[in-house]
């Protein structure tokens, strides 16, 4: 028995199997869309399984394949319409039997070193384990302002976010065509929190005009804010959430060239740009922001808000442009929410579901249970993986 095991082991390196080379992505023709690809390593299905189990994911999760991680640096269109340099994470299973492409849109992040393309972040490695180990190419854009991009992140500015996502998808499509034995152009998209809204915005954009040959089969959002001007703003004001309001105000003032004077009290009006520039984490910003909005916002803004006056107009217009409940999904969209989420309240999901259904959209609403905002993805992602697998032709 021992000799047989020894012989088998000595044979294994020679019987390597049908595996991709980690460097194969470097020799594909991306048509000038890629500036740089860095190999970040190989992770095994065992690591993927342990990672998912240690995180406490409920239910069965398929982690059948080893996978390679890459950081891709590419160009997208910035808020000024000019090309800008961004990055993203791509994970490729080591098998040439690739099921398709999954695009993951990450949640709110103010700290550049925690970008998803630096896969030390739990979100980057966990998502790669979930989808690449299941046989999909995973693409996860950092968005403008995170990763290698040193601009300010255009928070809830979906034209640029969707652009960064779709541009990375076009790179993933080249990898799919170049590496898969029989390329399956099925595309699945999913995202959490800010990325949930970005997922809906990406679906809306792709179903209007898809510049890739990938075919959107399904979309899933987790803890997404669909209605920033209505539900989200009301909740932020009621819960004295200066962190998210500050991020929105700072980003919109930069994008639309407006001043925060008259909206935000001093000294915060001058300090916000330095806090939300990618160099500070949420803990730091929370610590330095006031706990009450009447200490953060000007009296004039608060009085106008109480009176129902949308002043300043640029801020309310920007919030309205970030609405993603205004379309009828053609590919099935599953909206996941935690019933105990006090950051993005369940009303966001319920009202978006109702509105999309009224427009004839292909949408389902899923309550994952009494979980808060940050615990919701762990509950939602295993069923999302099984759903994507089922749509791909495997048993759910």
């Amino acid at each position: 028995v021992v000799l047989a095991i020894a012989a088998a082991v000595l044979c294994l390196p020679a019987c390597g199997g049908d595996e991709l080379d980690i460097r194969a992505v470097g020799w594909l023709d991306y048509g000038g869309r890629v500036e740089r690809i860095e190999t970040l390593g190989r992770y095994s299905s065992l690591e993927a399984s342990l990672l998912v189990q240690l995180a406490g994911a409920p239910g069965t999760v398929a982690t059948d394949h080893d996978y390679f991680l890459y950081r891709v640096i590419y160009s997208t269109t910035g808020i000024d319409g000019e090309p800008t340099r961004v990055s993203g994470l791509i994970a490729v299973p080591t098998t040439p039997s690739i099921k398709g492409v999954v695009s993951w849109q990450h949640g709110t992040n103010t700290y550049r070193p925690n970008s998803i393309s630096k896969p030390s972040s739990p979100e980057g490695l966990g998502i790669a384990a979930l989808f690449a180990a299941d046989g999909f190419i995973l693409a996860a854009a950092d968005y403008i302002g995170l990763g290698v991009s040193t601009e300010m992140h255009p928070y809830y500015h979906y034209p640029t976010t969707v652009g960064a996502v779709v541009d990375l998808l076009s790179i993933a499509e080249v990898m799919l065509d170049g590496l898969a034995r029989a390329p399956d152009h099925d595309l699945y998209i999913a995202g959490f929190s800010e990325g949930g809204g970005a997922t809906a915005a990406t679906q809306r954009a792709l179903e209007q005009d898809n510049p890739t040959r990938l075919e959107l089969r399904a979309a899933a959002t987790v803890g997404a804010a669909f209605d920033p001007r209505g539900v989200s703003l009301r909740h932020v004001m009621q819960s004295d959430d200066a962190f998210h309001l500050g991020y929105l105000l700072t980003a919109f003032s930069r994008i639309y060239g407006q001043s925060l004077a008259g909206v935000v009290r001093e000294p915060y009006a001058d300090q916000l740009a330095g806090w939300y520039d990618g160099t500070k984490g949420q803990d730091y910003i929370d610590e330095h922001l006031p706990k009450r909005l009447d200490e953060f916002l000007t009296e004039a803004f608060l009085l106008d808000y109480e009176a129902g006056k949308e002043n300043p107009k640029w801020f309310y217009d920007a919030l309205a442009l970030a609405d993603t409940s205004d379309y009828a999904p053609r590919a099935p969209l599953r909206i996941h929410f935690g019933s105990a989420d006090d950051i993005v309240i369940p009303q966001e999901a319920r009202s978006a579901f109702t509105r999309m259904r009224q427009q004839g959209g292909n949408v389902e609403l899923l309550d994952v249970g009494p979980y808060g905002h940050d615990d919701t993805p762990l509950q939602a992602l295993p069923p999302i993986q099984r759903w994507f697998d089922a749509l791909d032709g495997n048993a759910e």
Binding site: P13, E35, P119
Partner: protein
């Protein structure tokens, strides 16, 4: 327990009754702590394999005074597909007729083409059950430090053409591991101080090049030699 280390009433019995099992290489006056530890270790080992040495009569080829030091080495398979080597020494903390409590230190190296190469210094504590006809079963827990060189390739694109640049980063990491082994001890049947083994196991590595953990399967296949020193 006789002087040759033969447990005539079983490790569990010895442990339960507080009787001594042999502990090697120590001055008698300094052995009581180690003996207690060894008794616990042997009792745990017996429990782990569901056995009771007292079930085996002492006349079925009991080992006599096995050498306390032995040396082992062989092939290491990392992730069951990448080649490597290991070399180490083992010390018998305590013996009964079927059980050995052991400590071991080993140097292990592997190479995964285009991805990484690692060298690890490992320390293990474990047990070996040896059946009367020589079949062995090992289990061991270990800790270690591993120095890993991660090979990365950076592709820099000019339009559609890429130039590849090889880069590498190196990192020290903590490497706890567990191994379970199957083997054959030729001492029992042929009186040759050699032991052939195959030990599959799992190693965790933290942190890796991405500040994350890695986990990989290892399989050690080799020979252990027990010289009379």
């Amino acid at each position: 327990v006789n002087a040759a280390g033969t447990d005539t009433s079983g490790a569990l019995g010895a442990a339960a009754e507080g009787r001594a099992v042999t502990s090697r290489g120590m001055h008698p006056s300094r052995r009581s702590g180690s003996r207690r530890l060894a008794r616990v270790a042997l009792a745990l080992g017996a429990w782990a394999v569901g056995g009771d040495a007292s079930a085996h009569p002492p006349d079925q080829g009991a080992p006599t005074a096995p050498a306390p030091w032995s040396f082992f080495g062989g092939f290491t398979s990392h992730e069951l597909s990448n080649p490597g080597l290991h070399l180490g020494a083992e010390y018998a903390l305590a013996d009964t007729r079927h059980f050995r409590s052991l400590a071991a230190a080993a140097l292990q190296a592997y190479y995964q083409p285009d991805t990484e190469a690692g060298v690890a210094l490992l320390a293990r504590w474990g047990h070996r059950y040896t059946a009367g006809f020589g079949l062995t079963f090992d289990s061991a827990l270990g800790v270690g430090v591993q120095y890993t060189r991660y090979d990365t390739t950076v592709f820099i694109f000019e339009d559609s053409m890429a130039v590849a640049e090889a880069e590498s980063v190196s990192r020290w990491a903590f490497a706890p591991h567990v191994v379970f082994g199957l083997g054959y001890d030729f001492e029992r049947s042929l009186a040759v101080p050699l032991h052939l083994y195959a030990r599959p196991g799992v190693t965790l590595l933290y942190p890796d090049s991405n500040q994350a953990f890695q986990a990989f399967v290892i399989l050690e296949v080799g020979l252990r030699w027990s010289p009379e020193l």
